[in-house]
């Protein structure tokens, strides 16, 4: 259908001018001796938004790229794409069905909150140790496995979700601490050449080890924990009227359009709780302040009497624990396997790169954006044969584009 070409053309147009903008703007800015750190992304956005109409004045007047320009250009780009999409696929659910879009957005945010928690762990590790843990997905997996086995055991089966979560937290924390002390501490002591590469490889080894250790111990059968809590069954305002909220034990429906499964809702709520707990820890406790001090200025912190090695251990263990907790909540949503951590880890990488490595708000916002993109990608891509098949790629496209256009991410410190 000719209509569909509209969207393709719009996409091509945006990508083409975006590429032109991102390639030439930094050169023009550097020739005029202006700050070029934001020129790649700025040029790309302005080019994508306005094409030559935007680029030519941009290159002539070379304004400073403020966040306002970023925001305006991003909105225009999104607008163009959405309009073209709506023109090209008038029957697509994302165009014709508001309830569907609302549902996708809600689901994206809900799952994004859970992703955020995991990414927070990774970004915490990065901000203190300066490394990315490639074993993050395995902490997530282990967290879920611990919850499953506790829930299935006779000893803890009736203990309830909070105990299971605590168990997952303890196990992942301990694994993280032991590993840090054994394998990462020498790095902090400067005994290791090329510490970053060492860290990549050694955490990679840990990921390998944990994944197959769990498989060896627990087998590779898919498992799943029971629902933590049931919803109370309610219907508001009442059964006769068109309802605003209606719940069953396993589902929550709003306005007869948005449906949130209980397990996801509970996981997201637990994630939010943990998020607040983390913020409290970081900003209101002595140890948390110590952590932040180390991330700001290592030397000054150690002068102030904080043992940076202990902080490293704490940060790595805490980061692993956050991943473990996020797995622990998600094991009631997804079927669990020893390999389940790999896509989750990949998603965390996307989030922290998008949010800015080491930035806590970045991990939070990035998580929600990635959740939204995955939900809308799978929900809106017109071809049902491709929509789901490309799920692993949506996040990775964000990752690569961020690294090319703005390596510091949304909230990273400008270099």
């Amino acid at each position: 259908m000719a209509n569909q070409q509209i969207f393709l053309l719009a996409l091509l147009w945006v990508v083409f001018w975006g590429a032109i903008g991102s390639l030439f703007t930094p050169r023009i800015y550097s020739r005029k001796d202006l700050d070029i750190s934001r020129a790649t992304l700025g040029g790309a956005l302005v080019g994508a938004a306005l094409g030559p109409i935007g680029l030519i004045p941009l290159w002539i007047y070379t304004p400073r790229f403020t966040n306002r320009i970023y925001a305006a250009a991003s909105i225009i780009v999104l607008g163009i794409l959405i309009l073209a999409f709506a023109r090209a696929y008038p029957d697509n659910l994302c165009v014709s069905d508001g309830g569907f879009v609302a549902s996708q957005v809600t689901n994206g945010i809900v799952i994004g909150l859970i992703y955020s928690l995991m990414a927070l762990g990774l970004t915490l590790i990065y901000s203190i140790l300066g490394i990315v843990s490639f074993a993050h997905g395995e902490f997530y997996m282990v967290g879920g496995m611990v919850v499953y086995f506790m829930s299935a055991s006779t000893l803890f089966g009736r203990a309830g979700a909070w105990v299971w979560l605590l168990g997952a937290a303890v196990v992942t924390f301990v694994i993280g601490a032991i590993f840090e002390i054994l394998f990462l501490r020498p790095m902090g002591e400067g005994k290791i050449e090329r510490p970053k590469e060492y860290a990549i490889l050694v955490t990679f080894g840990l990921s390998f080890f944990l994944q197959y250790l769990v498989q060896g111990l627990a087998g590779a059968n898919p498992v799943k924990a029971p629902r933590f809590f049931d919803f109370p069954v309610i219907e508001l305002p009442n059964a006769e009227d068109p309802y605003l909220i209606k719940t069953t034990a396993g589902n929550l429906r709003l306005f007869d359009a948005v449906s949130i499964p209980n397990t996801r809702f509970v996981s997201a709520m637990i994630s939010v709780l943990l998020l607040f707990a983390l913020l409290f820890f970081l900003y209101r406790t002595w140890t948390g302040r110590g952590l932040r001090a180390v991330s700001e200025d290592r030397q000054a912190a150690s002068v102030a009497g904080i043992n940076p090695y202990r902080m490293n251990t704490l940060a790595f263990a805490l980061g692993g624990m956050l991943a473990g907790l996020s797995g622990a909540t998600l094991v009631q949503v997804f079927t669990w396997l020893p390999q389940v951590g790999i896509p989750a880890a990949a998603r965390s990488f996307v989030i922290i790169v998008l949010g800015g490595m080491g930035s806590l708000p970045g991990a939070f916002v990035g998580g929600i954006i990635v959740g939204l993109v995955e939900a809308l990608g799978a929900g809106c891509v017109p071809d049902p044969a491709r929509a789901a098949a490309y799920i692993p790629a949506y996040g990775m496209i964000i990752l690569t584009l961020t690294l090319l256009l703005k390596p510091t991410g949304l909230f990273g410190r400008e270099l």
Partner: protein
């Protein structure tokens, strides 16, 4: 002394190569061992070329398997969709090609109902005696290598500014996108069911009067061995040439290298391109040998195997990486057995990988140059050490006391 070192430098590899050349005399009777050997060479190529990229040039790329897959898929697509006919088919997309016709078949996807191909239609109308030729797979190898090189060039140029962690993440991203594309574009790539690839010698081959069938292991053994040896030759040439010197300097300090006149950009991209081409070549041959290629060769486990092989062998030594790959491959495959201790049956399929992860971590932590590399160094640097001792003695004799003691000669730390 020079003679001894030359002997070691050339004689040892030559002896090893000769051993590998005549190895089928002993292991030729066991197709399984031959199969492992072929696979081992394949991994050795990947590990050695990755060690050039990561160990020498310091570019920790996780996209190495992607280049391999690009090569293999390029060759597989070429083999699946390209035909040459002597007469125009009129039904297919076709291009005149040196007096013949280059026919591009339609993508068919996975389907059990046998769809009629445009060539089948054409066959009925074509005059008798006209030929349909499936072009040689060796042009497919060329095609794959070029495709791999082009992508290597592209990725190398894109990641110029990215270092360590960022580079690793970017290349993981690229690899995952590629995997998603290959699994999703089923019409062309046949997705998870994989593209079939013709055997290396579809009609068998006659070597020294002995004819081998298409499924015989001896011819692919020699093809893979030849590729392995050629690539090791190129790699040794690269590392001993100015390229090797420069990429190591760049790894150590990019700015300082530039300030000393090294064209950083060129050498970084160059090393990406060269290693990508090598990976692609290995992928093409392995694909033809195995007979099928699926997107699963891109899963992170595969890449981690190559990385672990290079690391355990010795990341900063191409020979160590290659030997490490061979040893580990044999180790991992031969351990694929379960054994029983008393009442407990231990299924080694999983536990060998647990051990593997552990070995990887311990190697990194305590043997940073890998397990093989120090051995090679010990042999190769023996006379260097002697020379160093001599120099140092001379220095002491000349009463020029060194202010601060340096580490020991040829130390690994």
């Amino acid at each position: 002394m020079m003679k001894r070192s030359t002997l070691l430098r050339i004689g040892l590899p030559a002896a090893l190569a000769f051993l590998l050349l005549i190895a089928p005399l002993w292991i030729g009777g066991s197709p399984y061992i031959m199969h492992l050997a072929i696979t081992a060479f394949y991994y050795a190529i990947l590990a050695a070329s990755w060690s050039l990229l990561a160990g020498y040039a310091g570019q920790f790329s996780f996209a190495h398997m992607s280049f391999m897959a690009i090569g293999a898929y390029a060759a597989a697509l070429y083999g699946t969709y390209i035909r040459i006919t002597t007469v125009a088919t009129e039904t297919c997309r076709e291009i005149p090609f040196f007096g013949r016709w280059l026919v591009i078949l339609d993508p068919i996807g996975i389907s059990q109902s046998s769809q009629t191909n445009c060539l089948d239609l054409a066959r009925q109308t074509m005059p008798a005696g006209s030929m349909i030729i499936q072009p040689s797979i060796w042009w497919g190898l060329l095609f794959g290598v070029v495709a791999g090189g082009l992508f290597g060039l592209l990725i190398g140029a894109l990641v110029l500014r990215l270092r360590s962690t960022y580079l690793a993440l970017f290349t993981i991203g690229f690899s995952e996108i590629l995997r998603a594309v290959i699994s999703a574009e089923i019409d062309i790539t046949q997705g998870q069911s994989g593209l079939e690839m013709a055997p290396l010698f579809p009609n068998g081959i006659t070597l020294f009067g002995h004819s081998y069938s298409a499924s015989d292991k001896i011819p692919p053994y020699y093809v893979m061995l030849a590729l392995f040896l050629v690539i090791m030759l190129i790699l040794s040439w690269v590392v001993s040439s100015r390229i090797g010197l420069f990429i190591r300097a760049i790894r150590e300090d990019q700015e300082a290298s530039a300030a000393l006149g090294v064209h950083v950009v060129r050498y970084k991209v160059l090393v990406f391109t060269i290693t990508a081409m090598m990976a692609a070549a290995a992928g093409v041959i392995q694909g033809h040998y195995i007979g099928i290629i699926t997107p699963n060769i891109l899963i992170i486990l595969q890449m981690s195997l190559v990385i672990a092989m290079a690391v355990i062998g010795g990341l900063e030594n191409i020979y160590a990486a290659a030997i490490g790959a061979v040893i580990l491959l044999f180790g991992l495959e031969l351990l694929r057995n379960s054994f029983t201790i008393g009442p407990v049956t231990i299924d080694m399929t999983t536990w060998r990988l647990v051990a593997f992860g552990l070995v990887l971590m311990i190697t990194l932590r305590f043997f940073r140059n890998g397990l093989i590399s120090p051995l090679i160094d010990r042999v190769m640097r023996r006379n260097v050490a002697r020379e160093t001792v001599a120099l140092r003695n001379a220095a002491t004799a000349a009463a020029t006391p060194t202010a601060t003691t340096a580490g020991e000669g040829g130390s690994d730390e």
